[in-house]
Assembly symmetry: C2
Homo-oligomer: 209 residues x 2
């Protein structure tokens, strides 16, 4: 649950329930596709309460997105710090990132829908001129590995995009991918490990000096 995040502790149970339900519905259907009625139903309250706690649909959406972005930064840092060597960190990142998304597929939906709309909210949240750090931790991790000779020279932004895409696409495209391999949709431990192993060896050999 994303409600484990520190930024949730100062909220009432009702607010937590609303934010959690909103993440599910916004992730499923995007900003315009989500229905305030569905969010209210899922949170176990009525529609008018949504407007009482969060002025409008837009405000609620922004609140949800802010927390998802913060949570992403934290989990990235944790995975990197949990290991010492580059290969171990690479595997830990792949494993943590994939499992996080599998346990909350709506986060990917939220991210994708936001981008399809030009990411007006996310761009403001990530704007360096407004003090946002962005995924700098991940970029530095790659640049440092290049500088220290652990991997061959590689553009950290390009690899970051590839890294994110390889995991995210697995979730996004599942409805279609499962038409030619139904086991994937189950999302069992075997499938997770197979995906992580594939990406790890592809990237490990692809980055080796």
């Amino acid at each position: 649950m994303l409600t484990d995040h520190p930024s949730y502790t100062c909220l009432s149970d009702t607010e937590k329930a609303i934010l959690d339900a909103a993440l599910t519905e916004f992730g499923r259907a995007g900003h315009s596709g989500a229905r305030m009625q569905d969010i209210a139903d899922r949170a176990g309250i009525n529609k008018a309460m949504l407007h009482y706690y969060f002025r409008s649909k837009d405000r609620l959406y922004e609140e949800v997105l802010t927390r998802v972005v913060e949570s992403f930064m934290v989990s990235i840092a944790e995975a990197i710090d949990s290991e010492e060597t580059f290969p171990a960190q690479l595997r830990a990142l792949l494993d943590a990132y994939l499992r996080a998304h599998l346990s909350r597929p709506e986060v990917v939906g939220l991210w994708v829908n936001e981008n399809l709309n030009g990411a007006p909210v996310a761009r403001r949240l990530l704007d360096p001129e407004h003090g946002a750090r962005g995924p700098r931790r991940l970029l530095c991790w790659i640049d440092d590995a290049v500088r220290d000779g652990h991997i061959r020279p590689v553009d950290s932004v390009q690899f970051l995009i590839t890294f994110l895409g390889s995991v995210v696409i697995y979730l996004i495209g599942m409805p279609m991918f499962s038409t030619f391999r139904p086991e994937l949709a189950a999302g069992g431990e075997d499938e997770i490990r197979a995906r992580v192993d594939h990406l790890y060896s592809l990237f490990y050999h692809g980055l080796k000096p």
Copy 2:
């Protein structure tokens, strides 16, 4: 333009204009987010004509998706057939796939939105039991390369997912990626080549026997 596709030749100019406008709007906003009024405006006709030519919004959507899927299969086959060796085919595929999406970003939006909704239409189009071939050409290409020793043993479905994701994510995430490298959004020749080069060398070294 996707209207170059053979399946368009038997259509009137009005029908072509509608399908082209519908692809743009459905790709932008997805099935539920797209507005029939916007499609009509873009096609240069009025709303009633949409229902005259294509019974309903659902029928129009299905018609658009069918043509996109067919077009995808064709362009994949063309790229593979254009080269002899595996490395050359890999680069040709990356280049063709990325450029095709850059010239018509709405296709990615359509694909993503369809998947976020569980891909009800695409799953029917890809169902092997109904005679669909699916992306078999791409999977066989990888399996054959493994069998002939051109690349190390690798799960073709896993690599297919990674391959598609690495290109598609570049388009999807552009609004956010461009916050920490604005040049990417321009989509100039330099950026295309940089992306293809990065993916080619990552995959080439990652797959080498």
